[in-house]
């Protein structure tokens, strides 16, 4: 008898509906309205790469030791340097970082002895072309500048 009544009054369905109904209240909304609402990115997030510069004189911190390039499993970092005849040190000339092949594992960041290379919280890496995904030294030092497109 009870089972028949439960069946007739759709108890099992109403039970489920009640769960859905409970979460209707606007304060229970958890969806992030992304472009309007910026997500909170964790401090350790591994996103867009950055090549740090000395904030006082704008010189790069990189000592061209090539360790990041050796640590990278995808071999996508190319460090171009030249020996300075006066100081007998290596000067950084170019630095390319191909984000299209990067898997953001953080091994390069861990390998850098002077914390010059860093993966930052920036996560918007889309670009209009494949070439746009290859970061040169300027982009790495100054960050991604949003491009203006004129139609």
């Amino acid at each position: 008898m009870r089972t028949i009544l439960r069946k007739v009054f759709l108890v099992d369905l109403l039970q489920g509906m009640w769960v859905t109904f409970r979460t209707q209240h606007p304060k229970n909304i958890v969806t992030e309205q992304y472009p309007f609402e910026r997500p909170k990115i964790a401090e350790r997030y591994r996103g867009a790469p950055r090549l740090n510069v000395n904030p006082e004189n704008g010189q790069t911190l990189c000592i061209s030791c090539d360790l990041c390039a050796l640590a990278c499993p995808e071999a996508l970092i190319v460090v171009g340097w030249e020996r300075n005849p006066e100081t007998k040190r290596k000067d950084l000339i170019t630095f390319t970082f191909d984000t299209s092949r990067c898997m953001f594992c953080g091994l390069c960041e861990d390998a850098c002895p002077v914390d010059a290379l860093e993966l930052t919280q920036d996560f918007e890496l889309a670009s209009y072309s494949r070439e746009g995904a290859i970061f040169d030294r300027q982009i790495l030092e100054e960050g991604i500048q949003p491009k203006k497109y004129v139609f």
Binding site: T20, R44, Y45, A71
Partner: protein, 369 residues
């Protein structure tokens, strides 16, 4: 048999690789008699990336991020299996603190994986709402991963010999808060599904796989436990200090789709229990063992298997004494479990086939590697 225009003929159809309920790019060739499935055959390999071959060209440290991409839903478990295998080759053991943190993260990952399974499985059967709720709770586990190691899905959280990162401030509190929040939510999913008559009718006695068949196919994980076999590598061959934690292995008898659902629901509760114990007893101390900078294991081989969310995940690594593995073989649970599909699906209806594919809990990155 007299031939009339009403006679049905057998029909061979392709299901997938773009079918939404094959959970990726699985292609199943089905032979049908009307609605009835006469036989199935899986065509796999659409997502093949040659991970095992890549291992032979990378150093041990470099290969660690790739294993996350084998089963991207349970990246942490994969990382753990690989690190344990290399540690066994090197004959080192991670310190107690690192082991406890590894347990916490893998159990969180198990919950996340089961939640994704539950959501998509329910979606296949026709219940849309659970997916939203599952995603809502999974988000908490992903947030913990993001704060801990900086990535949400392909985490690369563990390193050979221990961990790269110390826990962040508030890690323990967040894990405990998640356990508190999560248990009532499991009851909520059960309220939505367990008693629901459509859910029961669609699942009970569908895709039965008994214990003997499970063993014959090498099926492991929740599928094996749903058939009544109490086999869990966390208990049988404890790793990472699982022997210290008090938890149960949920089992059921029938081995049908409904039982597998019940086993996984129970497993999520048990995982929350393990997380709580691990967080409360989190020891202090170092997080990495002494491992050389350049990892060069002695000549030899090692096999380590762990209990991944989907079953037994094994890593077999052969070292020839250089910095790169000579061979790295992955024993993926989804790939082995998928072999039982034909056995389960034969004689069922097409709609049940969807339920059966869902209940295996495959992830195609792992099947194809």
């Amino acid at each position: 048999m007299a031939e009339t225009f009403l006679d049905s003929t057998e029909l061979v159809l392709n299901m997938g690789p773009q079918h939404p309920s094959t959970h990726g790019v699985l292609r199943v060739i089905v032979k049908l008699d009307g609605e009835k499935v006469l036989g199935t055959e899986c065509v796999i390999g659409y997502l093949h990336r040659g991970v095992e071959k890549i291992a032979e060209n990378r150093t041990y440290t470099m290969f660690a991020p790739y294993v996350d991409r084998i089963d991207y839903i349970a990246a942490v478990s994969n990382g753990l299996g690989y690190c344990l295998a290399v540690e066994k080759l090197l004959n080192v053991e991670a310190p107690a603190r690192a082991q406890a943190i590894r347990v916490i993260l893998t159990e969180l990952n198990r919950i996340g994986s089961h939640l994704l399974w539950l959501g998509t499985h329910a979606l296949d059967i026709g219940a849309i709402t659970p997916l939203f709720y599952c995603m809502r709770e999974r988000e908490y586990t992903l947030d913990i991963f993001e704060k801990y190691c900086g990535a949400r899905l392909t985490t690369h959280a563990f390193r050979i010999g221990g961990l790269q990162y110390e826990t962040y401030e508030g890690f323990e509190k967040e894990c405990l808060a998640f356990c508190d929040l999560f248990l009532p939510k499991v009851d909520e999913y059960e309220e939505l599904l367990t008693g629901n008559r459509i859910w029961r009718k669609r699942l009970i006695d569908v895709g039965i796989l008994n214990e003997a068949d499970c063993k014959a196919f090498g099926v492991t994980g929740p599928m094996l436990r749903a058939a009544g076999c109490k086999w869990d590598i966390r208990k049988a061959l404890p790793y990472c200090g699982y022997e210290k934690y008090d938890f149960e292995i949920p089992t059921r008898e029938n081995g049908d789709t409904y039982d597998r659902y019940m086993v996984r629901m129970q497993e999520m509760r048990q995982s929350a229990r393990i997380i709580r114990q691990a967080v409360e007893g989190l020891p202090a101390g170092p997080i990495t063992a002494k491992v050389p900078k350049v990892i060069k294991p002695p000549v030899g081989e090692a096999y380590v298997s762990i209990e991944a969310p989907k079953g037994e995940l094994g890593y077999y690594i052969v070292s020839d004494g250089t910095t790169q593995p000579y061979r790295c073989r992955v024993r993926p649970p989804s790939f082995v479990n998928l072999q039982a599909l034909d056995k389960m699906a034969r004689g069922s209806l097409v709609a049940d086939l969807v339920a059966i594919i869902g209940t295996i809990d495959i992830v195609l990155g792992e099947v194809d590697r």
